[in-house]
Symmetry: C2
Amino acid sequence: MSRLDRSLIASLPLFDGMSADELDRILQAARSLRVSTGSTIFEQEADAHSFFVLLDGHVRVIKTTPEGQQVTVRYITPGELMGIAQALGRTTYPATAIAVVDCVVLAWPGTMWSQFAAAFPSFGANTYKTVGERLQDTQMQVVEMATKQVEQRVAHALLRLISQRGRKTEEGIAVDFPISRQDIAEMTGTTLHTVSRLLTAWEEKGLVKGGRRKVTVVEPHRLMVLAEGRSGAG
Amino acid sequence: MSRLDRSLIASLPLFDGMSADELDRILQAARSLRVSTGSTIFEQEADAHSFFVLLDGHVRVIKTTPEGQQVTVRYITPGELMGIAQALGRTTYPATAIAVVDCVVLAWPGTMWSQFAAAFPSFGANTYKTVGERLQDTQMQVVEMATKQVEQRVAHALLRLISQRGRKTEEGIAVDFPISRQDIAEMTGTTLHTVSRLLTAWEEKGLVKGGRRKVTVVEPHRLMVLAEGRSGAG
DNA sequence: CGTCCATTTGATCAGGGTCAAGACGAGTGG
DNA sequence: CCACTCGTCTTGACCCTGATCAAATGGACG
């Protein structure tokens, strides 16, 4: 295995304020993995042997119910932590992580998490900030599911996708990894049929442009109006 | 104001592993408040001047949408932290907290949170454990809302209420604070009408017993069967 | 060229929201 | 002590959103 260079992680907010020497020490403990599309990085209920940072690619984090239904909890972008069961006081992973494209990740033994947090205060603080942000995101999602119609939820989900993982094209802003109708349904608590119907309707109105495992938002602003919902919109 | 005695907090898990001296130092910085039923302890979007520990009573934490709809995020039990915007890296409260009965709370200036976390590592660790647990609870809730029918969600909510805040009576296990149909609706993302119909139906089957702002679960086990839902239940 | 997967689209229908009244019970003021 | 009022709860009627069932179409890739 080739030596990991500190430039891999130096620019990540997670390691903000750490010296070159500290970064090297952290990297020494890491191993880097290539994960091919569709492979599982860690699995719900499994022993949390490691925690990870995604360097490149995109990861979908899902929870599966006892009945086998899947709910997508979040997508992970390069630079983000994942599988931090230790930071949540758990010994098993609360969800499953699947690479939606070929990925590069760094992995550390789970037991090192508390050492890192103690030795590098900014690392601990940044992790907890991440956890705090995820709590707020998740609470927002609960509010949305409790109060908004499916159409608004799907519109919101699309807007979040393009704002955080969008890529400009000549047609508009596309989600820069393959995403199916089923995937969107699992993010919003609906069915692929409903998502398909919505996207078709929006495409007819010129708001979006679809494709096989592909969505491009043509008119973000009008989609935003839709996402706000009917109250006050006549 | 009378001096606060360390016995008030010594038994709380949050302060586990702290010496008498440390507890005294923490209490010196605290002020205690009595909050009467229905009063607001802190308000969504307001500047997070303080964080709190509930000593006695029950608190409902709600989020209000721009359209004015309310969603109950959680109920706080004695001993729990609340309003810990600082631990989430925020300067404003993400939700509103309302006393559902007369309450006693301790409050500390928000600026002290990071000092506490630094000076008393177990305090910091315990807080983050709380945040982690809430993240998991909230994710569970998302999964439930995405995959379960209203009947199952309401059944689950009731079971959680009595398991965490239940009081045994001769009729069964009652929620030990006043809770209306509307409150239950706001916890589960439905309407008071649907909750009312469900409770009436369950009462006819002998599962629960209702009352004005009061619910008693007579047969937790049968309610649990309902909460599991139809898949596999015939 | 055939197979597999994603997507589309139609038809049906039920869960549960909305609208509308009323009943019930608790607290209040006369 | 009673009448009144307000907030909670119940119940009926209706209907809409979105799930379910079913099938066909269309690309992508081997």
